[in-house]
């Protein structure tokens, strides 16, 4: 019989971390969001190429805030990864601490980004560069904000005790989304803060 050949082992019921259907769904979300940022950065480079170096308001953008902020965001990814490991192995305290640190670092990133915005001498409607700068970094901040909110909800659910080593699909989903938001920042940061040093 076909059936005996194909059903040769017991099957897990419902979600199991990265086997869940939701995991694949969030990968689709990440694919489409990554495309969104690709088109944003395409817009930046397209206008940059059309205009030449003169379009940059600062040939050497200051890294005093954005540099350390990049490190903060990267550390938050490590914390969230560590927190996810916690729930996988049933270490609830590690889970709560890791995700908690992620939330704090993510929030810090947002606050520092606020200061970075304030320090800029141009606005959204000053020039094409200004429009791009605030839109791209704004889009990214919106993603960080959503990411922090998702981590917060997951953290509360963890506190109530919804997750277990077998049932934590939502934690995995939140974590991969968070890592994605961090990786996007590396592209945004390289484009706005580093590429002028090389290209201009």
């Amino acid at each position: 019989m076909a059936e005996t050949a194909i059903f040769d082992r017991p099957l897990p019921v419902g979600s199991k971390g990265r086997d869940s259907v939701g995991w694949w769904g969030v990968l689709c979300l990440i694919a489409t969001e990554a495309s969104l940022f690709a088109y944003l950065l395409f817009s930046y480079y397209y206008i940059g190429v059309q205009r030449g170096p003169a379009w940059l308001p600062e040939i050497h953008p200051k890294l005093t805030l954005s540099g350390p902020n990049t490190l903060i965001l990267l550390s938050s990814s490590v914390a969230v990864w560590w927190g996810e490991e916690g729930i996988k192995h049933g270490r609830r305290a590690q889970h709560l601490t890791g995700i908690g640190i992620g939330i704090v670092l993510g929030t810090a990133f947002l606050i520092i980004q606020g200061f970075e915005w304030k320090a800029k001498t141009f606005g959204l409607n000053t020039s094409a560069y200004g429009s791009l700068f605030y839109t791209v970094t704004g889009f990214h901040m919106a993603h960080v904000f959503v990411g922090v909110a998702v981590l917060l909800v997951v953290w509360i659910w963890a506190l109530i005790g919804y997750f277990s080593p077998r049932h934590h699909a939502r934690v995995s989903v939140a974590a991969i989304y968070w890592h994605f938001v961090d990786v996007v920042w590396l592209f945004v940061f390289s484009t706005f803060y580093l590429s002028p040093y090389v290209l201009a």
Partner: protein, 645 residues
């Protein structure tokens, strides 16, 4: 490990013809209006998609007929230029965005789980959300139009004409926000198809056993995930330009051509997204009537994917006249010409299927077979415009109007109407009238060619497109009259279809499970299918589960009559992405109102943004956030949690 977390699938078994009452109780949407709104049944949602899309098709058609009244003679006075501009814009938006894409989503939503041997899509709630947002976006744009503030700069919406300096009303904002809203619907729908394809095929259905329609919709969905952000972003940036003084596209500091790049990076893949699933319908429907499997399944599947992959590299052929260097013109001409090859594969496969089969002439067959001819006509006119020097003459004339209508009506509407004749019995349990069907087919076919073929000729005679009138004596008069009369005949054909549907819904002959003796899984279940689709989970051994006896090509037969029951709640089998080996028992969500509240919240947000009523936008945002939290609320770890959205 608790018993609830892992289960040996050998457990509850049943025979398909005796499923017991439990499955029905688990899967059925309860009666009542609220429950109807809460339904997440893919069949219900699929039908809503199809009906709504046809609503927009009829609106777009009426708009076209009014324009054809204006253009029937030179110097027409039926419409003012403003009215004409809104009509041709709404016609394009209705047909391209609100009909052509969604109608295919409707068919695929209805058919996919049946074709794949699943009990629903991977994300039933996301499916409902996708529909509600689509409806909201369509209503959003049409309310603007009804209030006299409809989009009026063409579906392509070129900047700077759409900048506030030249277009100060809210017309373009209605379009911008409406299309971003629609983009969300398309995106979540696409993600649903991709994950369903990867994870929810029946055991044994490896990826080389899925119908071509599935390949078409999958390809379109992947493309939508990658391409829709371009147009959503373009419209968002335009909205920032218009409302907040940003400088992305404006003439003073921005780059107007950036709009065209972003728009066509989306636009060209989108054209394939709204024809590839329809080509899939022909690839699956034609063989049924030709009494043989499709010629060259693998080649056609590859051609489907190849068309889309190439489709991402040709957007510049919409911009040949923008002042590009010769080298770029040559490159994009070449890339555009190469797309002919996968298209030719499909055409030769269909033609060979007819010749080497024993075609049974039904109305559905006539629509599918005639599509081959219309596809070739639309294809060669595309091939002509691919050659840049020729395009510099052809572009923005009626020749291109002819081309796009042969492509969109020929490759979308004709297959879709064929698909209605083909699958209506499955949807309703009744056959459409074949007699009325012949009248329907010939009226549409003659009307279409009469209405659109002469557009090639007035195009070659130099008539520009998007003109609200034209002077006499240019040699365009006679052809334009024929075009207007032809379009009227075509509309009568569509009306005959609607009449056939209305009559057959009440009086059509009973269809039975498999009226066409077709090979694929949807014909293994009753017509209309029960809410749970399959009483037992099928196990698949070939590409043609219902033709295995006749073909005798596989050592084992697919198992459809007896098998796994899975009746402990809404459940289906999850399988591995490539081989389709069982992997997981997937819990499916219950009916719920959260998709509807989420869609309403989003629509409220967008309405607030349109009118700068920020408290309304925030209110909408809160509804969205609350709906999302309710949506993803987990059950306790010791209980079973729904795996998916």
């Amino acid at each position: 490990m608790s018993a609830a977390e892992e289960r040996a699938p050998g457990g509850a078994r049943a025979r398909a013809d005796f499923p017991g009452p439990k499955l029905l109780e688990i899967w059925e949407t309860k009666p009542g209006f609220i429950n109807w709104l809460a339904s997440v049944d893919h069949k219900e949602i699929g039908l809503r998609y199809i009906v709504t899309a046809f609503g927009f098709l009829i609106l777009g058609g009426i708009e076209a007929l009014i324009m054809r009244m204006q253009l029937a003679q030179p110097g027409g006075h039926v419409l003012s230029p403003q009215a004409y501009d809104q009509l041709f814009t709404m016609h394009g938006i209705s047909m391209i965005f609100l009909y052509a894409g969604p109608v295919l989503s409707g068919f695929s939503n209805y058919l996919w789980p049946l074709l794949l041997g699943s009990r629903d899509m991977a994300f039933p709630r996301l499916n409902a959300l996708s529909y509600w947002i689509y409806l909201a976006a369509g209503v959003f744009i049409y309310v603007g139009f009804a209030l006299g503030d409809g989009p009026d700069a063409g579906w392509f919406n070129y900047v700077p004409y759409t900048d506030r300096a030249y277009n100060p009303g809210i017309n373009i904002d209605v379009y911008s926000l409406g299309l971003i809203l629609l983009g969300i619907s398309t995106t979540v729908g696409a993600a649903n198809f991709v994950v369903t394809f990867l994870r929810l095929r029946a055991p044994g259905m490896s990826i080389n056993r899925v119908p071509i329609l599935v390949w078409g919709t999958l390809t379109a969905s992947v493309a939508n995930l990658l391409a829709v952000p371009a147009v959503s972003l373009a419209f968002f940036l335009l909205w920032l330009d218009r409302q907040f003084g940003a400088h992305f596209f404006d003439t003073s500091q921005g780059e107007p051509l950036l709009w065209q790049h972003l728009f066509w990076m989306f636009g060209h893949p989108w054209v394939y997204a709204i024809v590839l699933p329809a080509m899939g319908m022909v690839s699956d429907g034609l063989p049924t009537f030709c009494r043989r499997p499709l010629v060259g399944y693998t080649a056609v599947a590859f051609a489907t994917v190849a068309t889309m992959a190439l489709g991402f590299g040709v957007w510049v052929h919409h911009m040949f006249a923008t002042g590009l260097p010769s080298l770029a013109l040559s490159f994009f001409s070449g890339a555009s010409l190469v797309i002919t090859i996968p298209s030719a594969v499909a055409v030769f496969a269909w033609t060979a299927t007819i010749w080497s089969g024993r075609p049974v002439i039904t109305t559905a067959f006539l629509f599918f077979a005639s599509m081959i001819v219309l596809f070739v006509i639309g294809g060669v006119s595309g091939f002509m415009t691919a050659a840049a020097p020729v395009d510099l003459q052809l572009t923005d004339t009626y020749f291109v109007v002819a081309h796009i209508h042969y492509v969109l009506i020929g490759i979308n509407v004709f297959p879709v109407v064929g698909a209605i004749y083909y699958w209506f019995p499955k949807f309703t349990g009744r056959l459409l009238s074949e007699t009325l069907g012949r009248w329907n087919f010939w009226t549409m076919f003659v009307g279409f060619n009469l209405g659109f073929f002469p557009m090639h000729l007035v195009g070659l005679a130099g008539m520009p497109r998007r003109v609200y009138t034209y002077p006499p004596g240019m040699g365009w008069d006679g052809a334009n009259l024929v075009i207007s009369l032809g379009s009227l005949l075509f509309a009568v054909g569509v009306l005959l279809l609607l009449i056939n549907i209305a009559v057959s819904l009440k009086r059509g002959a009973a269809a039975g499970t498999n009226p066409w003796r077709a090979p694929t899984l949807e014909w293994a279940v009753p017509s209309p299918p029960p809410p749970y689709n399959f009483a037992v989970i099928p196990i698949i051994e070939s590409r043609h589960p219902l033709w295995e006896e006749a073909l005798a090509e596989t050592p084992r037969r697919s198992q459809l009559d007896e098998g796994l029951l899975l009746d402990q709640g809404r459940e289906t089998i999850g399988t591995t992405p490539l081989d389709g080996r069982p992997d997981l028992i997937v819990n499916m969500p219950e009916d719920t109102l959260t998709p509807l509240t989420l869609a309403l919240g989003l629509a409220t947000m967008f309405a607030g943004a349109l009118g700068h009523i920020w408290w309304l936008a925030v209110l909408g945002g809160l509804v969205v956030a609350a709906s999302l939290i309710a949506w993803f609320w987990p059950k306790r770890a010791d209980a079973r949690e729904p795996a998916n959205g």
